[in-house]
């Protein structure tokens, strides 16, 4: 048992230590919308209170268990893994609702943990969403290794011993629980300082004595500190869908549900006089009268706020407090004790997995490297296989190989990425597409013996087909042994502001205004923004109590869990039923189950995770290759594209990369003309360059200057030259950081990887300190000068995990080249596939279409006579496509698919597909009759021009469709012969506007082109002509805003991109100007003015003024992609 040292009290002397106390029933934010503190906060508070251990018992939830265990480890508190379950004792006496009990179940050992997970899983999977309920009999035979605290306050009202019937029900409950938990049952009593708490505790104490069951005090905190009470009140309101003013008794009536230490609990629970602590009021009256002349002692035990306690106390209350520490002492289980194992891979013929793996790798090596493979490759493969063997990971590689094999068999494009591309084994198994030997990649970045941690393989899957792969994994390994990882969605600024406004009862419009005042980001930032003018701008008085409360609420919600969703790709497999390792629950998507753990939680117990990620670009490439084959008869193989095609690189160097994987963003486009990639490795660098790591480490500009020969290539230490020569002396990749540590500080590869992890995204200060100490010592021992050592340390800490691993960049660079190749040589197919893979990438469909038109692609509008649901290719008009491959068929034209017509959902899609399968549409009447579409769908199709072939003239077609869509007027309707009518045809501008309104894109031109006379009059230049404006001159450009960006690394600077009929214009808004013009800059169509800045071929305009434009009252629904 851990004791606490006494604390000095004012006035001198040292008070006797209170009995050790351990809180055994704390709740965190993972009791969704009930707990108001994160596990880390609770752990930190427990340490501050000197608590030796703490049990986290969220309601039917272990989602916070790993974070809690980690946080406890950091602060020196023993974590107790637990959960609260609710059980139904049977029907009520009157046959009504069942009597329910709340049990805090604490894991004594690993078996208990597995049983607890099993119970939580069963309850979560059986019940509907919300708080589940388990029948008590389901606990039979599943309680070994679990300690049980009966939480009487949280149990149903039928078991309260204040009445005879309640006492009988309580006795029955205790008897049944004692049978399930012999010697492992305690009654947990709570006293939160409410007027009735004393009476309730007294009756339970009497019952415990009578039944001979021990009791233990708990405070069952819902938050760490008293000030967090407001957050809990807010969460309560959100849970019940009421405002604070309406909540009334739903809120806890005081702030006593915070984590209390031994001293506070002793003040509450010490029965200094002995005897009953909580006599009923009647007894108080009686005893008070009897004792009124007997002396100064209080006649009953609930103790004063600042009592003078006896130096040592053996009262029942203090013994019960000490009992909590004894209970905690029994809970020896730690999550690190788990030993999750993969299911054994069913080797054909029953051989050993390692041998089977070797056979597959050797076969793959012959295919990849030639037969026989070279000595270097063979040595690397041997090394990797031996490491895999020693770590017992053959099954893992075989599972991943099996998934890839399934995908290939099904024609689904997949490609491994991330650190797996550092492995020759993965390359030989076909999981990755990059040769790590050829690129000299560091295997230890992927797998290290000393790390004793599982490797991480990320597999990108064509996103449209990803679900098939996921269901294959479920089917292959069984739903009991496979589940996806969850993602805890936590409160951020806007969500916090909206929920705070909701519970304060502010009108929706006010909530919208407040939300508009805050940027995307954390709740703390949002509160600061509101305090610094946002409240007033939204029309609230900052001094009003509710305004101040709003800020407190928003701050308090920072990072609390809000709900749980499916992780983008994490899958976990287990030989043991997975629900016994981590609780599993239903996901909102059908046929999906998820773990209660986040992906970051899997490392501690050593789970192996398979990341099966959806990637739109693979869908695009898959479709693109198919279209090229179908339209031109050219069979392209991704693995065998013509390498280093100069025209492809010319296009990339000109930043003509809309739609190209990874290098289409504005930042990448700005860099491309400076880097001027000419080889595959240049693309690898380009992918890695625009990342937070290199940006924050101030490595981008040195690299660009060296690349252009504007500064010499130098090295901090001559020993770094072999490591950094390929990146001109500037470290850009994670592996380079590791190699620097190996070379200059004498780290082993495993140590270097530990360094990378310690400096990773979720940094541990303690580990950082340790690694830095080792680095400093290592650098000194290797003779590195102190000033150089300092610089080395500086850039290692800056980018250790914010940059890409080189292998990952290489994997992505393959897709960069492939997509650029398609764009360059097969633009219609590229555009068609890109549009069909939407939503994905950086640009809206409208921008993609305009870009395609600028590249000579013939884009045809949506037409019911010929359009499919997806975009398709048709024989082109015969015009020569620029730089067409010799001998290739003439380029096809792109037909926009019906999927882009606004408002047509899946049901319309199915109906249209079914109708078209029966034959092409012949007339308006045919469409109305066979498609089964409703009038609104038909109307929007007509407005979009989709009847052009069947009934020329959009307005005439709409007139006809309206008549047909209204249907038969009935037998009594007057038959009125109609004269043929003809409406005035739409002007080109009207057609473009109608296109934007109905499809969000237009094949008929750019809307800004129609504003050109007005823009000319106002002195605006075309975006394309900005290149001719001298640096330092002022220039105006008018256009649609297609992108607003405020990257976290840009310190408040906003980047805006305008699009006109000639291309893009890039503007930069400094923070003060952005703030001044924030309302104007929200408009979809802008006229911007600024000072032209030029760096080589790259032109940016430093914003000075802005005005919104309109199209003479006509609306263009611009589709800006706004990024933080």
């Amino acid at each position: 048992m851990v004791g606490l040292s006494g604390r000095a009290r004012p006035g001198g002397g040292s008070a006797p230590p209170p009995p050790p106390f351990v809180e055994l029933a704390a709740r965190s934010g993972f009791s969704l919308l009930d707990g108001a503190s994160n596990p880390e906060t609770l752990a930190e508070r427990a340490a501050g209170l000197g608590m030796p251990a703490l049990a986290l018992a969220d309601r039917f939830d272990l989602g916070g268990a790993v974070r809690f265990a980690r946080a406890c480890e950091e602060v020196g508190v023993r974590p107790i893994t637990a959960a609260e379950v609710r059980v139904a004792l049977g029907s009520g006496r009157t046959g009504g609702a069942p009597v329910t009990l709340a049990l805090a179940l604490l894991c004594e050992d690993r078996g208990g943990y597995h049983r607890l997970c099993g119970l939580v899983t069963e309850a979560r999977l059986a019940g509907s969403r919300g708080t589940p309920l388990l029948p008590l009999f389901r606990l039979a035979g599943r309680t070994d290794g679990l300690l049980c605290l009966l939480r009487v306050r949280e149990s149903g009202p039928g078991t309260r011993p204040g009445t005879e019937a309640g006492a009988a029900a309580a006795r029955a409950a205790i008897d049944r629980l004692r049978a399930l938990f012999p010697d492992r049952l305690w009654v947990a009593l709570e006293h939160h300082g409410l007027p009735d708490d004393g009476r309730a505790c007294a009756s339970w104490l009497a019952l415990c004595r009578e039944a001979g069951v021990p009791w233990a005090p708990v405070n069952a905190p819902l938050y760490a500190r008293p000030s967090d009470r407001i957050v809990h009140d807010v969460l309560t309101c959100l849970r019940h869908g009421v405002t604070l003013d309406e909540a009334g008794d739903l809120l806890k009536p005081n702030a006593e549900w915070h984590l209390k230490g031994a001293e506070a609990m002793r003040e509450r629970w010490c029965f200094a006089r002995g005897g009953d602590a909580f006599p009923p009021v009647e007894a108080v009256v009686r005893e008070g009268r009897e004792d009124r002349r007997s002396g100064p002692h209080p006649p009953f035990g609930c103790q004063p706020a600042e009592p003078v306690l006896p130096p040592s106390c053996e009262c029942d209350g203090c013994r019960a407090l000490a009992r909590t520490a004894e209970i905690a002492e029994r809970c020896r289980f730690r999550l690190s004790h788990l030993e999750p194992r993969l299911p054994a891979f069913p080797v054909p013929g029953g051989g050993e997995p390692q041998a089977f793996l070797r056979g597959l790798v050797e076969q793959g090596a012959r295919e990849r490297y030639g037969d026989p493979p070279g000595e270097r490759e063979r040595r690397q493969i041997e090394h990797e296989l031996s490491v895999i063997g020693r770590l017992g990971l053959a099954d893992y590689f075989l599972v991943m190989w099996d998934i890839v094999r399934f995908a290939r068999r099904e024609g689904i494009l997949v490609q491994g990425r991330g650190s797996a591309a550092n492995s020759a084994v993965c390359y030989c198994l076909g999981i990755t597409a990059v040769d790590p030997v050829g690129l000299d990649l560091l295997f230890e970045r992927f797998l290290s013996e000393s790390r004793r941690e599982p490797p991480d393989i990320d597999l990108d899957i064509a996103h449209r087909d990803r679900e098939r792969v996921l269901q294959y994994v479920y089917d292959r390994w069984g739903r009991d042994h496979a589940a996806m990882v969850c993602e805890s969605i936590t409160y951020r600024g806007k969500m916090a502001v909206r929920d705070a406004a909701r519970v304060l009862g502010l009108p929706r419009e006010t909530s919208d205004r407040l939300s508009a005042e805050v940027e995307r980001g954390g709740a703390d930032d949002a509160a600061r923004r509101l305090a610094e003018g946002g409240l007033a701008a939204a029309g609230l008085d900052p001094r009003a109590p509710r305004s101040r409360a709003l800020l407190r609420i928003v701050r308090g919600l920072e990072d609390l869990p809000r709900h749980r969703s499916i992780h983008v790709g994490g899958f976990v497999l287990s030989s043991r039923p997975i629900g016994e390792l981590v609780p599993v629950e239903r996901a909102s998507m059908p046929a999906r189950t998820i773990l209660q753990w986040d992906k970051d939680d899997l490392d501690l117990p050593g789970f192996i995770k398979f990341d099966l990620l959806g990637l739109g670009m693979l869908t695009m490439l898959s479709d693109g290759l198919r279209l090229v084959r179908e339209s031109r008869g050219v069979a392209l193989d991704l693995a065998a594209l013509p390498p280093d095609d100069p025209e492809v690189y010319d296009m990339i160097c000109a930043a003509d990369t809309v739609g190209v994987f990874q290098i289409e963003s504005r930042a990448q486009m700005n860099t491309l003309p400076r880097v001027r990639p000419r080889t595959f490795y240049d693309l690898v660098i380009e992918v890695a360059l625009i990342r937070p790591g290199p940006i924050q480490g101030d490595m981008v500009h040195p690299y660009l200057r060296r690349r252009r020969g504007e500064e010499p290539v130098t090295y901090l230490d001559p020993r770094l030259e072999p490591l950094l020569a390929r990146t001109l002396g500037v470290p850009l990749f994670q592996e380079q950081g590791m190699k620097v540590a190996i070379t200059l500080a004498g780290f082993t590869p495993a140590q270097a990887d530990n360094m990378r992890r310690a400096m990773g995204f979720k940094r541990s200060h303690r580990k950082m300190r340790e690694v830095e100490e080792d680095l400093v010592a290592g650098l000194a021992a290797n003779g590195v000068a102190p000033d150089v050592a300092e610089k080395v340390l500086q850039y290692l800490t800056a980018f250790a995990n914010y940059g890409f691993p080189e292998s990952h960049s290489a994997s992505f660079a393959l897709l960069v080249y492939a997509s650029a190749f398609l764009k360059r040589w097969y633009a219609p197919e590229f555009t068609c596939a890109l549009l069909n893979a939407q939503p994905m990438g950086f640009y809206s469909p409208a921008t993609i279409v305009h870009d395609a038109r600028r590249h000579g692609v013939e884009v045809r509008p949506v037409d019911l006579a010929v359009s499919e649901w997806d975009c398709t290719l048709e024989p082109g008009a015969g015009e020569e496509f620029r730089s067409q491959p010799k001998g290739a068929a003439p380029p096809p034209a792109l037909r926009i698919g019906l999927r882009f017509v606004h408002g047509l959902g899946p049901r319309a899609r199915d109906r249209l597909r079914a109708a078209r399968e029966a034959g092409p549409f012949r007339s308006v009447e045919d469409v109305v009759r066979r498609s089964g579409l409703g009038p609104s769908d038909l109307r929007v199709l007509a407005e979009a021009g989709a009847f052009e072939t069947l009934w020329p003239g959009r307005r005439d077609a709409l007139w006809e469709v309206l008549r047909r869509a209204r249907g038969d007027a009935g037998p009594l309707a007057r038959a009125v012969p109609e004269r043929p009518v003809s409406f005035p045809p739409m002007s080109p501008f009207e057609r473009v506007l109608a296109d934007y309104r109905t499809t969000g894109l237009s094949s008929g031109g750019h809307p800004v082109a129609f504003l050109r006379p007005e823009l000319d009059r106002r002195g605006a230049v075309r975006a394309r002509d900005l290149a001719t404006v001298p640096a330092g001159a002022r220039a105006r450009v008018g256009g649609l805003v297609i992108c607003r960006q405020r990257p976290g690394t840009a310190k408040g600077v906003m980047f805006l991109t305008l699009e006109d009929e000639t291309g893009f214009a890039n503007f930069v808004a400094m923070p003060d100007l952005r703030e001044r013009l924030r309302n104007v800059l929200r408009a979809p169509l802008l006229l911007l003015e600024g000072v032209v800045e030029r760096e080589g071929e790259v032109v940016n305009v430093l914003l000075r003024e802005a005005a919104s434009l309109d199209l003479a009252g006509r609306e263009v629904r611009g589709q800006s992609r706004d990024f933080r």
Binding site: T131, E154, P157, G193, L194, P195, D196, D197, G198, A200, R229, D233, T236, L244, D245, E246, A247, G248, D249, L250, L251, K252, P253, N254, A255, V281, V284, G288, R289, D291, R292, R293, H297, P298, P299, F300, C302, P304, A305, E306, P307, P545, R546, A549, R939, R954, R955, L958, W959, L962, R963, R966, V976, E978, R979, V981, F983, M986, E990, A994
Partner: protein, 457 residues
């Protein structure tokens, strides 16, 4: 009351900021314009209409426009335009045009509404948004283009909406005119000569008056929410009593009972009046639809709800307006605020219902906030001497009491988002054997105050 629109109508557009916002603002504006025209109707945000008939004898329609502007101006209502035409749709458009021009009123000559409307954009017609959007998509921009379309074709495509749009575009608008000021509510009065000095003749007259009023209410299809019974005394003064039934009614028997109670209160208790009454009047001052709820034979409360309402009305008439109250439990942790008696709102038609405050089973523990056995209606301030934070002596109006024993504290707090409060309750046993319930609270200024809140027998 709804009537077809008059042959000439004036539309008044006004700015809608502040109190004149929305439909409520339009109603307020209509009330202001009553000074210029006896029949005025609110017509939506920023728009009112007035009956423009008969102004040819009072200076012409331009004079009406001036009068409307003048009455608006005197009440601070900013009129932007006035238009006058045969039908509302044309008058509204004329007012819009007047607002755009910023000058005097636009008066559309009789019989030329269609011609006047033709060049107006379709948005000037009160059409549903989806219809407007579709007509625009067809390239129809102006009312005249719509009016030129064959009626049958529009009906074939848009049904009744299309027909209505077509009529409006042609200046045919038969929307009802809902005047702000309805016809005067039913009333009846009778002079008594000689004046009555006893109750009996008054009750006879009252029955007669109420029968007339109730007949008028029947014509209206309404019931009375409240009636004023006015007595003109011989000395020239007047006394008024309100008759408020529990539900809207036109049952003259019940109303007579209420009237009798009112008259008896005015008497001396022996059947004679305090002063001779020279005239009696009954005026309905509020009407409402009669309730027509479906009953249930097997539910006790449906046996005779009107009888129950009658009893309540009579009790209230005899014992005063706040004599009938109902308990309203409140969801507030402060013991003195957990219950309240609320007077029944007579005449509203709303029946008192005792709804429990919101709570949830899982939070049931939070509701258990029992007080002392006897709770003071409001906590009373006391002075307390403490030792180590615990009460030792307590002074109130009856002197000093020594505290022999203390239990507590119990803590309650709340309303942190608007008006925070925090209390610590103690159960005190005095040396005299009294058991008291007191609390201390920290006020906003930091001062600590003690209150006595209850006691045990």
């Amino acid at each position: 009351m709804s009537r077809p629109f008059p042959a000439r109508v004036a539309s008044v557009r006004f700015t809608t900021d502040g109190a004149m916002d929305g439909a409520a603002g339009a109603a307020r504006a209509a009330a202001i314009l009553l000074a210029a025209s006896p029949r005025v109707a609110a017509a939506g945000a920023g728009l009112c209409r007035a009956d423009a008939r008969g102004w040819e004898r009072r200076g012409g329609e331009a004079a009406l426009a001036r009068a409307l502007r003048a009455s608006a101006s005197s009440a601070g209502l900013a009129v932007t335009g006035v238009g006058i035409a045969d039908v509302p749709v044309a008058a509204d458009a004329a007012a819009l045009l007047a607002a755009e021009r910023g000058g005097g009123p636009v008066i559309v000559p009789p019989g030329s509404a269609a011609r006047f409307l033709a060049p107006f954009p379709l948005a000037a017609l009160p059409l549903p948004a989806h219809l407007l959007e579709t007509l625009r998509a067809l390239g129809l921009r102006h009312a005249g283009e719509l009016a030129a379309r064959p009626r049958e074709e529009l009906e074939a495509r848009f049904g009744p909406d299309g027909l209505r749009a077509h009529r409006l575009a042609r200046g045919e608008d038969d929307r009802p005119f809902r005047a702000l000021c309805p016809d005067a509510p039913p009333a009846a009065e009778l002079d008594l000569d000689p004046p009555a000095d006893s109750l009996e003749p008054l009750l006879f007259v009252l029955r007669h008056l109420l029968a007339r009023v109730c007949a008028d209410l029947a014509d209206l299809g309404r019931g009375a929410v409240r009636l004023d019974l006015e007595m003109a005394l011989e000395d020239g003064t007047r006394r008024t009593a309100a008759l408020v039934p529990a539900r809207p009614t036109r049952r003259d028997g019940l109303l007579h009972d209420l009237g009798r109670a009112a008259l008896e209160r005015a008497g001396d208790g022996t059947g004679r009046l305090a002063a001779p009454v020279a005239g009696l009047a009954v005026r309905v001052v509020g009407v409402a639809a009669l309730e027509a709820r479906q009953g249930d034979l097997f539910r006790a409360e449906w046996r005779d709800p009107m009888a129950a309402a009658g009893v309540l009305s009579r009790i209230r008439a005899r014992l005063g307006e706040e004599a009938v109250v109902w308990p309203a439990p409140r969801s507030d942790p402060r013991p003195e605020s957990r219950n309240a008696w609320r007077p029944v709102e007579m005449g509203s038609g709303a029946w008192p219902e005792v709804a429990p405050p919101p709570s949830a089973a899982e939070d049931a523990g939070a509701r258990e906030v029992p007080g002392a056995l006897h709770l003071l209606p409001e906590p009373e301030p006391v002075r307390v001497r403490t030792e180590a934070g615990r009460p030792r002596e307590l002074w109130d109006g009856s002197g000093c009491r020594e505290v022999a024993a203390v239990e507590g504290p119990e803590r309650l707090s709340g309303d942190w988002w608007k008006d925070p409060w925090r209390r610590e309750y103690f159960r005190l046993c005095t040396t005299g054997g009294e058991l008291l319930w007191a609390f201390r609270e920290v006020r906003r200024d930091g001062a600590l105050r003690w209150w006595l809140h209850g006691w045990w027998d």
